[in-house]
Symmetry: C2
Subunit: 206 residues, 2 copies
Amino acid sequence: MPNRIPEIVILRLPMYRRALHSLEQDNIDVVSSQELGERLQVTPAQIRKDLSYFGKFGKQGMGYNVKRLLAELTRIMGLDREWPMVLVGVGRLGTAIASYPGFVPQGFRIVAAFDSAPQLIGRKIGSLAILDISEVKRTIQDKHVDIGIVAVPGSQAQRIVDMLVASGARAILNYAPATIRVPPGIHLRDIDPVLALQSMTYYLKP
Amino acid sequence: MPNRIPEIVILRLPMYRRALHSLEQDNIDVVSSQELGERLQVTPAQIRKDLSYFGKFGKQGMGYNVKRLLAELTRIMGLDREWPMVLVGVGRLGTAIASYPGFVPQGFRIVAAFDSAPQLIGRKIGSLAILDISEVKRTIQDKHVDIGIVAVPGSQAQRIVDMLVASGARAILNYAPATIRVPPGIHLRDIDPVLALQSMTYYLKP
């Protein structure tokens, strides 16, 4: 059953959840697909269709109960628990990622950081000790980690991703400036603010 | 003419450019659309079609000259110059963005940082003095800034984006966890690693 839901729908769920969270904080109890659509700049029909994959959430013409839909999406998305993550690469970029304030409030926690540079091993980054990359497999297995964050130079990124996957990671958040391949069943998302900027400059040229 | 090129093509150009840069560093002079497609996990036909919007870059069966195509894409994308940017919000997230090592080597430079918290104004973040948000318009105009980076709390993000656009910014890189609206002709990209993680956990649930 889960595999029948199109990936594009799954990709939109985090936006829905974020909008519902914001409505909840504004003490709004009920929201129509029209109002939700306006907030998210998608059509009400798309919202109704996307949510219909997961069951019946609203009565015709009554709107959605914000708290209930939020709780349901949280459960459906697997966000009613904490997800431990490992970070590989603690240069300048990795150090910034390790101190990124957005992860923990949303249930994502970096539980170990790795590098291959001997001078970094054993040092601390916040409360995390930096471990040798050779220990990554044991850590992933001991701590039941599913998610690996990659912050190594682009030229090393594929090798590190392969190592993470071979060690048991099933999801990769890649900050390295490289196009990475993963086997079927492994999930990958890229975070690259430079690519995002470069996709706008074409329009900004004089 | 520029407006006739589909946005989805423009969105792929940075990936092409990055792959060509990597080939150049490996001292590879010529690349076929097949080889480029394999690196990027897109079809050779798509690469040929995308690049054909910008002119004739390769001879049938001869492949692309890496250096020449890279230089042409750099020019087409407006990356043969430096782009100054302003950063709004220098809390923990904004501070991490200000020290992000990936911008400057790619020609993107934060030239001013702003906040509204009185205790931050006048302090320094790296070599940047933190300015009062009320000065953002003058800075954008004086320094000919087109790009604004937003790192404020989600609840303030729309207001700050509106202010940046009213001050003359034409492109926004939004790190705030909020869905932002911009007027036609203004470009917006979101950077949100938590949304990226949340789009994978659905698949990781036991």
